[in-house]
């Protein structure tokens, strides 16, 4: 599998001030991962605003009710310590809705004051014997370390550490660690693909089953679908552990080592080369031929590459995305003939910097947060990443595999085509 490093032409990061940052809190990332576990509720240990703010963005992006709770730290508990708040919050949540998992995530406030989350969980279990068996994962996701992708990875790591254990291999089972940038639709695409080769996939986390935008019978205050805690206990016993995205490489390696599984890392599945490699690998592992459906889809991709290459050629595209998504999108664009003008992650720069480095660009790729910038610059925006609040259907979106390739080729191609028709390019221009 190949790895394409983003060609970053970014200026050095601003030291003191971020202007229009597209970084999101790690606690939000952790919460997002936890939403892919069936019956879970993420609980942020901090003052109530962190939860409210994260919830608002998640709701706007997915257009779904999002379960997310707070330990509601106030002035007094900030001085005295948050133990009692953690215990009360978990007991309350359990009493209200009997969650199957509580993901307890720290925030900047409680990490700074040094709350002992693991200790609090122990004391909870002593004080409430009825909660002795309640699955709880503790996640360290302080705001001052990384962003959405890092918090997401911390949650995946904690889920694996807490529940996965070694054991006899379960034939045909494959574990996929799916990074923060994979939308629910991407998860479904992955599951379909693995099933087409006869595997039973377990996605950690599995957003495709919880945030895919479907109307259920009865509203619930818990994550509606996703991988179950029972399944999480089995993810270390798969034939293969496949890690998608570099942000999960470390937690994947730890799982493979602890549970003695074989491990494959794939940085991204957004370019033809990467998807080809992955499908070829599945075919070799399973000893099955590539199903006709995917052969046909691949030919559709080839055709779309031909049809769209006129419009991608030499187009200058600045991007601002989380690392894993950036890597995939850069590979995709370069393979189409476009030029990556700037590639920013939230750690490298902010949208103000993107604005400074997009002169002469044909297309911006970033989340909805860049909408005002794109408008002021008169450059079309292809919305990707998090949050996308001014377009519908984020739960269904597919950007990986042949299906994702097709979709992106056509969507981006249409934008570039429209632009070309509106502003004919001068010869040599």
């Amino acid at each position: 599998m190949t790895s394409t490093k983003p060609a970053s032409t970014a200026a050095p990061p601003r030291q003191a001030l971020a202007v229009d940052t597209f970084k999101h809190s790690p606690a939000l990332g952790a919460a997002l991962a936890l939403l892919g576990v069936k019956g879970s509720v993420p609980l942020l240990h901090g003052a109530q605003g962190c939860t409210a703010a994260a919830k608002v963005v998640l709701v706007k992006h997915f257009r779904e009710a999002i379960p997310l709770a707070t330990t509601a730290m106030d002035e007094v508990s900030t001085v005295l310590g948050g133990d009692a708040n953690i215990i009360e919050a978990i007991a309350t949540l359990y009493g209200k809705s009997k969650p199957k998992l509580i993901g307890l995530c720290s925030t900047a406030l409680t990490e700074t004051r040094g709350d002992d989350l693991e200790g609090a969980v122990c004391r909870l279990r002593q004080q409430h014997p009825d909660l002795a068996e309640l699955p709880i994962a503790v996640i360290h996701s302080p705001d001052f370390m990384g962003g959405l992708q890092e918090g997401f990875a911390a949650a995946v790591g904690s889920l694996l550490e807490t529940f996965a254990s070694p054991g006899p291999t379960i034939p045909g089972q494959i574990t996929v660690l799916a990074n923060a940038c994979l939308a629910p639709g991407d998860g479904q695409e992955l599951k379909d693909l693995l099933e087409a080769f006869g595997y039973q996939p377990l996605l950690v986390p599995d957003l495709s089953d919880s945030l895919d935008g479907r109307l259920s019978e009865a509203p619930s205050p818990l994550a509606q679908g996703g991988i179950s805690v029972e399944q999480l206990r089995l993810v270390g016993r798969s034939e293969q552990v496949i890690v998608i995205g570099e942000s999960l490489a470390a937690v994947g390696a730890r799982l493979a080592e602890r549970c003695h599984c074989s491990l494959t890392s794939i940085p991204q599945l957004m370019s033809l080369e990467a998807v080809d490699g992955f499908i070829h690998q599945l075919s070799r592992w399973s000893g099955r031929p590539v199903p006709e459906r995917y052969r046909r889809q691949r030919r559709q991709v080839l055709d779309a590459l031909l049809d769209t290459h006129f419009y991608f050629g030499n187009k200058r595209v600045p991007l601002a995305l989380e690392g894993d998504l950036l890597q995939g999108m850069v590979a995709f664009l370069q393979a189409c003939g476009a030029k990556v003008q700037t590639a920013l992650t939230p750690q490298i720069g902010d949208l103000a910097l993107l604005g400074e480095s997009c002169d002469g660009a044909h297309l911006l790729v970033a989340s909805s947060q860049a909408a005002a910038l794109a408008q002021s610059k008169g450059i079309p925006l292809y919305r990707l990443g998090f949050p996308i609040t001014d377009r519908l259907g984020q739960g269904l979106r597919v950007s990986i595999g042949y299906a994702g390739l097709l979709r992106q080729l056509i969507e981006l191609g249409n934008i570039l085509l429209e632009q070309e028709l509106a502003h004919p390019v001068h010869p040599g221009g």
């Binding site: 601003r14 030291q15 003191a16 001030l17 971020a18 202007v19 229009d20 940052t21 970084k23 999101h24 809190s25 606690a27 609980l43 901090g46 003052a47 109530q48 605003g49 962190c50 409210a52 703010a53 994260a54 608002v56 709701v59 706007k60 257009r63 779904e64 009710a65 709770a69 707070t70 330990t71 509601a72 730290m73 106030d74 002035e75 900030t78 009360e88 919050a89 978990i90 007991a91 309350t92 949540l93 209200k96 925030t107 900047a108 406030l109 700074t112 004051r113 302080p142 705001d143 001052f144 370390m145 962003g147 109307l215 259920s216 509203p219 205050p221 103000a352 947060q369 005002a372 609040t389």
Partner: protein, 462 residues
């Protein structure tokens, strides 16, 4: 230097009817309702301060804290500007671990300088957050020094999230204006009677539906506090003749303090529902006439204006009234807004069968009980389950609430209308009621309801 007001001072707002002590009752917790771990829903004090202050459009709002505070919400507020766009940017010091261990006052100073240099706002508001309060960053002195060095107002807002609820934060925002902004302008007073509008955030441009009415009567709006606000105008707010507080208990402290300091009387009013709009106009006019700031003819002119607009509104509402009459609404929104919307619903011939009283004062409650009648349901505590239960029990046709509850309703296949911060439609003034009617009608009579409620054909078989 003005000190950061303590929670106790702010929580015992004497003019606030949340506070029974203000009426000779026993001292009570007032705004200090404690958020319950595992149960609490709302934003923090920091969020509340932003809601109050960010609508000031020509200043830069700098969040001193790590990413959770400054990262998620910038650019998303529904307050519109008729000009400057500084308020739409998200400025933050985005603190990392090093900053938190070694202190970030230098970083803050540099950030302030960078904003002043690159963006040239009229002022910079600097917001404290949980972490910067915890590690004891001295916002006051950094802001004071920066203000002197840059010859630019730099205003500290002591809005650490853990200090309280969103409501409390609204009040902290108001306090910052009192401490540092209002009364600082030396600009000459403009001629003619003028008012300040307080507590209206110009969501979807609501203030623009009301200002033309005032303009038509020759009444000038000195300062909008804060929707579509301008720093200089707010700094000169002490020159106005009357404060009009719109649907806001949280900013009453601003009006009360201005009455004490500058002798400006205040009235409480609402821009929702035709009766309220008319009453608001009459109250303003009466005050100006009584205090000899306008002559008697203003009364006739205002009555003529009210009559024209009410008649026009009536004819525009007619088609909706027929379709909406008798429909039943559950209303779930904070405090004062409840009774405003109840009045607006009355304009449409609809009945509010239940409403939340979580943030309401005793007075509000009594008034709501009266408006709802004996069968009215008062929802004490929030949460999706309670709301759905009330809708089921009352057989309501629709939920009107804040965006947070949108999916509570939709997932239960119940029509929904967003009444809070982030909506795209303005419902204030006479025109606003027509817009409200149109939105309610669209939501309620959409053909999708029948489809989403009907089981699939194979599920109907016996």
């Amino acid at each position: 230097m003005v000190h950061a007001p303590t929670n106790r001072e702010l929580l015992t707002e004497p003019a606030c009817s949340h506070n029974p002590a203000a009426k000779g009752g026993s001292a009570k917790k007032g705004c200090a309702q404690k958020a319950k771990p595992g149960d609490a829903q709302g934003g923090c004090a920091f969020d509340g301060a932003l809601i109050t202050l960010v609508p000031i459009t020509d200043v830069a709002h700098l969040v001193h804290g790590p990413i959770a505070c400054g990262g998620h919400s910038w650019g998303t507020r529904g307050s519109l500007s008729s000009g400057p766009q500084h308020y739409r940017h998200g400025f933050t010091t985005d603190l990392n671990e090093h900053d938190i261990i070694f202190g970030a006052e230098t970083k803050l100073r540099q950030a302030i300088e960078a904003i002043a240099r690159d963006h040239r706002p009229k002022a910079i508001f600097v917001y404290a957050t949980c972490v910067t309060a915890l590690i004891g960053e001295d916002l006051d002195s950094v802001c004071k020094q920066a203000a002197q060095a840059l010859a630019l107002p730099v205003i500290p807002v002591h809005s650490a999230g853990f200090r309280g609820s969103k409501n409390f934060g609204n009040r902290l925002g108001g306090q910052a204006l009192l401490d540092h902004v209002i009364g600082t302008s030396q600009a000459p007073r403009q001629a003619g009677p003028s008012i300040n509008i307080i507590g209206e955030y110009n969501i979807a441009g609501e203030v623009w539906a009301v200002e033309p009415l005032l303009e038509a009567l020759g009444i000038r709006v000195q300062a909008r506090i804060t929707g579509d606000g301008r720093y200089e105008a707010i700094a000169a707010a002490h020159q106005a003749d009357l404060n009009v507080v719109i649907c806001s208990k949280a900013l009453l402290n601003v009006a009360r303090t201005m009455e004490e300091r500058y002798g400006i009387p205040f009235i409480e009013a609402s821009f929702y529902g035709s009766a309220n709009v008319s009453q608001c106009l009459r109250q303003i006019v009466d005050h100006l006439v009584d205090s000899k700031l306008a002559d008697l003819s203003l009364i006739d002119r205002s009555e003529a204006l009210i009559a024209t607009h009410t008649a026009l509104m009536g004819s525009q509402l007619e088609p909706y009234r027929q379709r909406l009459a008798g429909k039943r609404i559950v209303l779930y929104t904070g405090g004062v807004k409840s009774w405003s919307i109840i009045a607006a619903a009355a304009d449409l011939g609809m009945k509010v069968v239940a409403t939340s009283i979580k943030k309401s004062t005793a007075d509000d409650k009594a008034r709501i009980e009266e408006l709802l009648g004996p069968d009215g349901v008062l929802i004490e505590k929030g949460g999706a389950a309670e709301i759905l239960d009330v809708i089921a029990r009352t057989g309501a046709d629709m939920l009107i609430a804040g965006g947070r509850n949108q999916y509570t309703a939709l997932k239960a296949r119940i029509p929904f209308l967003d009444i809070n911060q982030e909506r795209h439609h303005a419902y204030a003034g006479y025109e606003g009621i027509v817009a409200l009617a149109r939105e309610i009608d669209e939501a309620m009579h959409s053909p999708v309801w029948e489809q989403v409620r009907r089981p699939a054909p194979w599920e109907q078989e016996p």
